[in-house]
Amino acid sequence: MSKQRVIVVGNGMVGHKFIDNVINSDSADKYEILTFSEEPRLAYDRVKLSSYFSGSTVDDLMLTSEEHYQSAGVVYTLNDKVVDLDHDNKTVKLASGKVERYDKLVLATGSYPFVPPIPGKDQPHCLVYRTIEDLEAITASAQESKVGVVVGGGLLGLEAANALKNLGLETHVVEFAPRLMAVQLDEGGGNLLRRKVEALDVNVHTEKNTKNITAGEKHRYRMEFADGSYLETDMILFSAGIRPQDELARNCGIDVGERGGIIIDNYCRTSIEDIYAIGECALWDSKIFGLVAPGYQMAKVALSHIDGGPEEFTGADMSTKLKLLGVDVASVGDAHARTPGAQTYTYEDGVNEVYKRLIVSEDRKKLLGAVLVGDVEAYGTLQQMCVNSMDLPGSPEQLILPQSDGSASAAMGVDALPDTAQLCSCLDVTKGDIVNAVQGGCCNMGDIKSTTGASTGCGGCAALVKSVMDKELANLGVEVNNHICEHFEYSRAELADIIRVKKIESFDELLDSHGKGLGCDICKPAVGSILASYWNDYVLEEKHMGLQDTNDIYLGNMQKDGTYSIVPRVAGGEITPDKLIVLGEVAKEFNLYTKITGGQRIDLFGAQLHELPVIWKKLVDAGFETGHAYGKSVRTVKSCVGSTWCRYGVQDSVGMAIAIENRYKGLRSPHKLKFAVSGCTRECAEAQSKDIGVIATENGWNLYVCGNGGMRPRHADLFATDLDDETLVKYIDRVLMFYIRTADRLQRTSVWLENLEGGLDYLREVVIDDKLNIAQELENEMTSNIGKYQCEWKTTIENPEKLKRFRHFINSEETDANLAYVVEREQRRPANEQERKDQIPAMEITTN
């Protein structure tokens, strides 16, 4: 039997999905696939288009490659467009003149951006936002522009606004409707979104109808609005919705809707036999689906029908959850309460900027829709309840109210979901698929993703998928082992309890009573850290020495060549000129590479073991102390200059930063701790990216907790507001000690909080309400720790026995001959392998 020839017109996300489904199906060899795209490249991820402006490359966005198509036997033509279609003879004609025969034709022509018919809209810096070429044009235009306007305050419009902001333009959004995201959000949600967006320096203009675009006075263009007002800008980006690309169908006698769109039935068939339409060009039940998930569903249905299968397209859930300009927004089902008799529940928290609304049926038994802005944690639950028409609990408001008992939300048990519930709408993965995958051996999210594809699209379902996986793992009796290593059958938190309660003071004591073997590089430093957190002995005391990690054991940060860097404490980032000079002199004397750190101090690199005590002697004599940059401990308290100098400061942020840094300096903890204090709401110290962040208010201090930068940045959560100095310190004491007591090894505060049952509310109950009745104990532990503070370097240089260790050889005064350096930008750095080879014999650097 000869192969059926299937032509796919358009190689966007949905056209590609269809082809991919064919390639991966059992009947792949029954079909010969041809595809044509007018774009210069194969399918890419338009959903993630905006990431192009935050560093993604075209390659990152590609969904496939020419090699992949070639190896699968897919014939593709780029930069060419199907311009005519002869359905009697079953052929298509291309712009290039080529004619191709088909057995089945799949129209996946997508959509085009709608540009309102405004006079002046066709000028050079009036652009749209749809393809990679559009992005390139936007980037080019932005280089010649200072101000940019997005016309359209919908989902895509806000993404486009984000792009303009990322390109450094003063950004405006002009919307015809009275609110942002009018399709998805109700008035309350739209208003909150607007406040949040405006706080990000995006100017929002609603109820503006642009009448004309003329030459501007201060900027390139002037947009004249129907109400007589105007706005000047250098570029305009139209993002006012999409229109189905149905030109080919329309010209060739295929039925289209009154307002556009190729009419299809439940099998994605058009009015002409053997011609299908899928994705944004298709009109089903008078509806166009401008999301990718329904398009993928149509791709599946069309292939099923061609292959003789039974699948039908019966509409799609248009619920969405996304982050726009950093703001979480979600909309489920009938967000506008248009269903007759619909009742609503609204929860609004002006302080934390959260808005939630539930739309329920007249009898309050079923969920019809929901709107969430600022906190979208409930999205998964609500979307499932809505789609599966599940019964609501007795008090539906519990679904959106913060829980007084500390549990994150009244999350519906995943047990209640039917196996057919679609958890991942992008990849069409059901609860049953996840359960099967777990039974088949998947036991973490990585496995689940690679096996089922769930959460690999938009990722919105990740939390829900994980809870289904966890539940199933528990059902199977899979024990999640949290033992720290093979030597102790305890978690770090359990070891901390044992050490605290039994007053254990050394590793050997703990190993003898609770462990086995000799210990290792996992448990030794962890136990060393716990011992230091509770008893705060000198870390180089003989019984603790072997526990210290790479950096702690020589009180410096080991670099790639085995030398160390030196970071003296500069509390709050405040330093006198005299001390700066000392640092400069020491760096010069020992030829140390010098760099300013992110924590407002100075890092001196390239000190050899034997140089460390000499250098530190000079620093200690000049009044410096160790900065603990080497420890899993409190590092720095960054500050802005605050009310003493700044015109805007409302409190003395430097003073508070120094007080806090001196209070907690040297505190050993499960992972490093970074703090910051800002003197006003402008937040120049970036306190919201720190483990402990303090921001001055007119009335005192706002305390933020559990943020961090690094690999996986997390914004800190607002913990308490308008605190006086004493209460602020009390709360920080308690939060830190509770973290030290309960966190896992190498767990930053951010992950700790995310894993803490009950989350932020629970932490508030422990720290503020003293629910566990341990607040006093935590404070006492902190006081005891602070009372035993010593500068480890001062102690070390005063102890001749300890100093013996600071030399490269135990039996020789020689130093490591393997070190080699080159000079770059007037300072030295370690030579790389090639440079080493080039400079034989190795250049010796003598520093004293």
């Binding site: 093979e486 030597h487 050997d508 073997g517 000799l518 210990g519 290792c520 590089d521 448990c523 030794k524 430093p525 003989e542 020495m545 072997g546 526990l547 210290q548 990690d549 790479t550 054991i553 020589y554 080991m558 790639k560 060549d561 085995g562 013996k804 260790r805 490269h808 050889f809 135990i810 039996n811 020789s812 020689e814 490591d816 393997n818 392998e833």
Partner: protein
């Protein structure tokens, strides 16, 4: 004494390095023996001294004497302070990347002094 890497008793040339008392339990030091950098580790629990190359073949720096020692199952190991791979102190083998192997040297304690055979 543990003569893991030594050939036969007659050919062994012992080099005195330091007093055993100069070693701190469960830590390492580096010795310069016949121009080679050799890491010595003293396990307090086993009361035994081990010697392997100080050069970390993965991190490519003379740092192994500054690593943490301990056990992995039955094997006594040092963890590289740079990238944390474990090296067997008796055989020199890298547990994670067995294609890397250190030389392990025989050690004896005589009259309170540490000797290494190179």
């Amino acid at each position: 004494m543990n003569a893991h890497a030594a050939s036969s008793e007659e050919t062994i040339q012992w080099t005195p390095v330091c007093d055993k008392q100069a070693l701190t339990a469960d830590t390492g030091v580096c010795a310069l023996i016949k121009g080679r950098q050799i890491a010595l580790f003293y396990s307090g629990k086993l009361d035994e001294v081990f010697a392997v190359d100080n050069f970390d073949p993965i991190g490519k720096a003379n740092v192994l004497s500054r690593g943490i020692i301990g056990s992995q199952g039955e094997r006594i190991c040092v963890a590289s302070p740079l990238y944390k791979q474990h090296f067997d102190l008796k055989t020199g083998e890298c547990l994670e990347e067995p294609e890397h192997r250190l030389t392990a040297y025989a050690v004896k304690i005589d009259n309170g002094k540490v000797y290494v055979a190179v």
